[in-house]
């Protein structure tokens, strides 16, 4: 098997007396979608923050593209090709959609014309082509989630960390966004998604890691993970597990 693009080795994060992430190990290959699921408060976002440089691991290593990047700040990692989205999206409310995306595009394009072209291209790729001139604060949740995705994509990442980009969307909006996410991996981007929408996890991810109380308690194919009794007990509950399994069997 090829070297993974991202390798997280025995990473821990301690906040005072709380061990938020406890010796977690995971990896993500290039051009594939990997999911990270787990209960609220399990440490998923903390793990993302350590991979993207917003938090420094207390112990453990993060390797990206074969290099040790542990503790590097977010802007250096962004330049290497690591981008993330945030659960609570915070676009520049008074700027247009285009200008919001432009902020990301300027990472690799100093010239305004080139950055604008990139911003427009990314805007169209995520389905915001018609809304580029609208102020960000006029967008619905679904639109703002796409904008959050576009801002990260405009940095031309190799690895994209998606933190609940489907939360707050209704079933038809979720169905509309799934092809956009799938297209990212087709274009060669490695995606790790934190997601509670199991329908999306089942249809998109090739490999799933389950984090509970800071520890990886299971990993494997989506079908295998949702059948794991520990995952059902800690995360899915029996009702959701039955629904996911029967939907997947059809």
């Amino acid at each position: 098997m090829a070297e993974p693009l991202l390798a997280v080795e025995n990473v821990s994060c301690r906040f005072g007396g709380l061990l938020a992430v406890d010796a977690a190990t995971l990896s993500a290959p290039a051009a594939r979608i990997t999911a990270l699921i787990g209960p609220n408060g399990a440490g998923k976002t903390t793990l993302f923050s350590m991979i993207s440089g917003f938090l420094k691991p207390t112990t453990g290593r993060v390797l990206f593209d074969g290099e040790n990047v542990t503790g590097e700040p977010p802007h250096r990692l962004a330049r290497r090709g690591v981008a993330r989205t945030f659960q609570v999206v915070q676009p520049f409310a008074r700027l247009t959609v285009r200008d919001n995306i432009l902020v990301g595009a300027h990472l690799r394009h100093r010239a305004r014309a080139a950055a604008l072209a990139m911003a427009e291209q990314v805007g169209r790729d995520v389905g915001l082509g018609e809304m580029l001139d609208r102020p960000a604060h006029t967008m619905t949740i679904a639109g703002r989630k796409r904008l959050e995705l576009a801002r990260a994509l405009a940095t031309e990442p190799k690895l994209l960390l998606l933190d609940e980009v489907l939360a707050g969307l209704n079933p038809s909006e979720i169905r509309d966004v799934i092809p956009t996410i799938r297209a990212l991996s087709t274009r060669g981007i490695a995606v790790i998604m934190i997601e509670h929408v199991m329908q999306a996890v089942m249809s998109l991810a090739e490999h799933v890691f389950v984090l509970a109380e800071g520890r990886i308690i299971a990993e494997g194919s989506p079908a295998r993970v949702v059948a794991d009794p520990a995952v059902v007990a800690a995360y899915l509950g029996h009702g959701a597990a039955d629904k996911v399994r029967s939907a997947h069997a059809h």
Binding site: P39, G41, Y235
Partner: protein, 238 residues
Amino acid sequence: MPTEPLLKVTDLHSGYGDADVLRGIDLQVDSAEIVAVLGSNGVGKSTLNRTISGLLRARTGTIQFDGVAIEREKPASIVARGLIHVAEGRRIFPNLSVSENLDLGSYRRAGSRRGANRDRVFAFFPRLQSRRTQRAGTLSGGEQQMLAIGRGLMAEPRLLILDEPSLGLSPLLVEELFALVARIHAEGVAVLLVEQNVAQSLEIARRAYILAEGQCVMSGPSADIGADPALKRAYLGL
């Protein structure tokens, strides 16, 4: 004799600036009934909630709560009547403790029963009790949602409006949340539930309204709406 509904919204229009968001909504909730409001993002569900609870002024139309017109009242007076809105996004005070956040729910109503109501909330959410001195900002997303609902319960609601309470919760917590709404309802509280989680909302609600583009395109018993595949495809994406 037919009883008067607890909440009666008639031909309600509301919006922001030049944007008309609600364009003639009729809706009612009977005492001790769970009613679901469903529809895509951007159709006006949160605007409806904000207009009912007085955060946004109705342009035209009437809102009656317990037989009294409230569409010109301030939010604080509406809270004092027992209409409590748990807004989307939790909106807890991150630097206050769990107990302090709860107590803030009882300033306009039921203040004299603050202690008893806090105990009642802790009985609903044992996890909040064990964290009652902790800063609310350090709670997990699921716990913050429980705190927001708990703060709403501190005011002894007669009608509780819940705006997307399952947002961001794990499947297991979503199940617990819906069970909790059923328990709150079993204590005699009417619930107006706005949700993206269509399937579970239809299971728990007696009736549902479907909004599209600021209007109500369908309403009826949840069982009928849940059983209509064309309808679910058209408006709910199932």
